[in-house]
């Protein structure tokens, strides 16, 4: 039988893969994709816990939909930034984007 723990293991695995992606990848696009993975891991966790705790109500599921919406908007924004960076610098390698310092 599939219990809550199984969902959480999947969620944790997905989150860790996303985290690894964010840290290890140099391409801004890949980092964004990894962030999406992490967000989806959270979504799985939310849905699983929500239906496990109170199967009759949809609060967790509705929040998940909100998260997906916000994530989509965020990705749109981030892709726009990446696009501008590419226009300016002709690269999407984050190693070259080190303006956020002294």
């Amino acid at each position: 039988m599939i219990t809550l723990v199984h969902f959480q293991i999947v969620s944790a695995a997905l989150f860790s893969i996303g985290l690894y992606g964010v840290m290890a990848r140099r391409s801004a696009i890949l980092i964004l994709m990894s962030i999406e993975l992490m967000l989806n891991a959270v979504n799985i966790n939310l849905v699983a816990v929500a239906s496990f705790l109170d199967p009759d109500r949809f609060a967790g599921i509705i929040i998940t939909i909100f998260v997906i919406t916000v994530a989509a908007a965020e990705v749109g924004l981030a892709l726009a930034i990446v696009l501008r960076l590419f226009r300016n610098r002709a690269t999407i390698n984050v190693d070259n984007m080190d303006l956020m310092k002294w």
């Binding site: 985290l19 840290m23 290890a24 980092i31 984007m97 956020m100 310092k101 002294w102």
Partner: protein, 630 residues
Amino acid sequence: MGLMELAWIIPASSFFAFVGIIAFGRRIPFVSPMLSIGAIIVGCILVFVVVMGRIDADPTGIDFFSRKWFEVGGTELMLGMIIDPLSIVMLGLVCFVSLMVQVYSLSYMRHDPKLAWYYAIHALFAASMILVVLADNFLLFYVAWELVGLCSYLLIGFWWEKREPVEAAKKAFITTRIADVALLVGILLLFHEVGTFSMKETFYQAQLLGAGEVSELSSGTTMIATFLLFIGAMGKSAQIPFHVWLPDAMAGPTPVSALIHAATMVVAGVYLVARTFALFEAVPNVLLVVSIVGLVTSLLASTMALVNTDLKRILAYSTISHLGLMMLSLGAFGYTAAIFHLVAHGFSKALLFLGAGSVSHASNQTDIRKMGGFIKVMPITAITFGIGALSLGGIPIFAGFWSKDEILIAVFNHRNFLFLIGTLFVGFLSALYMARAFYLVFFGDLKNENKSVSESPILMTAPLILLAIPSLLFGFSVFGSDEGYGGIGRFIFFENAHDFHFNVLLGSISVILAVVAFGISKPLYITRKFDLNRIKKYFSGLIRICERGYYFDQVYEWFFDRIVLVSSRFIAWLDRAVVNDVGVNGPANSMGWTASKLRLHVTGKVYNYALVMVLGSMIIGSVWWIMVAG
């Protein structure tokens, strides 16, 4: 009582004259002398009123008038006056000489573009000097004392376009300031012990101490404090080794020298010792120091006066010498004699300085070698100068004779034989250098370049005549009259009133010495009966030492160049290397260095920030896990 209380108006009127001149003097030129002289005339009239009040109450009594000034930490500071014979006599002297000098200056300084400023400082000086005399507590006294020093600085450096007066003013100010530090420490020591600045209370405690009773003053502190007060007095009264400023101060206008360096400021030191005599009497050892300093000062200064060729400098050294005599007299318990001599000397020396001013005004020089025969062209100046010279020389019936005699008696009674011989010798030298200056300036042949010299205008000769009268007659105040007045010894005294008594032996020795000095001066300096050059050659070494002023200036110069400046340079290096580089720039530099290393962690790489974020949330999570959930 009522009349005496009016005394506060005397300094106040001069002070308001100062304020008025500062406000209007520049726009309306004649207003400044009018205000200043008007104020001092008011002062002179009020002195008479105060004297009346004093005589009505109790001629030899002492009264204090105090108002609260302000309060600090539970200590009330008062603003008050002492009215006693000592302060009254000083008041009279200061007001009278100030008036004479200010009138004289009308003519002497009339072409000066800074006349308004001149009278402004004169008014301020008169106000602060009167305040010194009147002050009934040490704090007010010190304030006035410093104001007097400031005015002296301003007046000596009045012609600040020239280098010499500026240097002299600086020298005078710094020298007296060094001594004033000692005075301040002394005053604070007394305050520490007694708990108030009030002179009344301090003297009362000192008298208790002197009588061996329970007193808030301890004898050790009193001795140190009194000695420090005396150092302050030495600075103002130009006692050795602080005397160096006075001869240089002759670079100022001559009327200023007559006022400040003859009759008023320089005697402030003597006045201080006389005023605080209760303290000095409680610690007689200090009095011995006072008399030794006085004797040494007067001996050295009179020999310097004897060889100098500048008329004003001769008078300056003579002043130092006579201030030394006053200190000697105070040190020998000759309180009356010292004050008596102070007044007699004040009149005579102011007269001599104004006479010297008249001579130099007419002939544009102060070198006595270039003068001679002036009696034919300026008789009034010559006669009045002669009266001053005879008075200072101690020729009978002139004021200086009686006061010198009083000093001799005091020294004879309280100090040993060496002091007496020293005093007699000073008296002899004093007569000799006064005679020398008098003969060289006014007798002999009138030189060709001086043919155009003529008598000074009435505004200058009138003060001379008015000052000559007390120089001539003041001495007779030693004698009492039948109604009330019992002679100066029954008016100004410390604890014991005494009558004037003439010691025949001492008196005749001093008279003979003075007459001999005047007698040999004419053949020595004018008719040249003796070969002066041979005498000079015989004493050439001694004369050179005297001419160089016993090398005091050179020693000070060496001291400043080799000791003070070298140590200052070391301290300056210390300041730059330690205080500035290590102390001030040190923290700043280390902060900058640390920051330059620390900022390397800010890489700008996205994944570094992400790592820190992740690690951070993991740490927060585990802390929460352990602390709350676990």
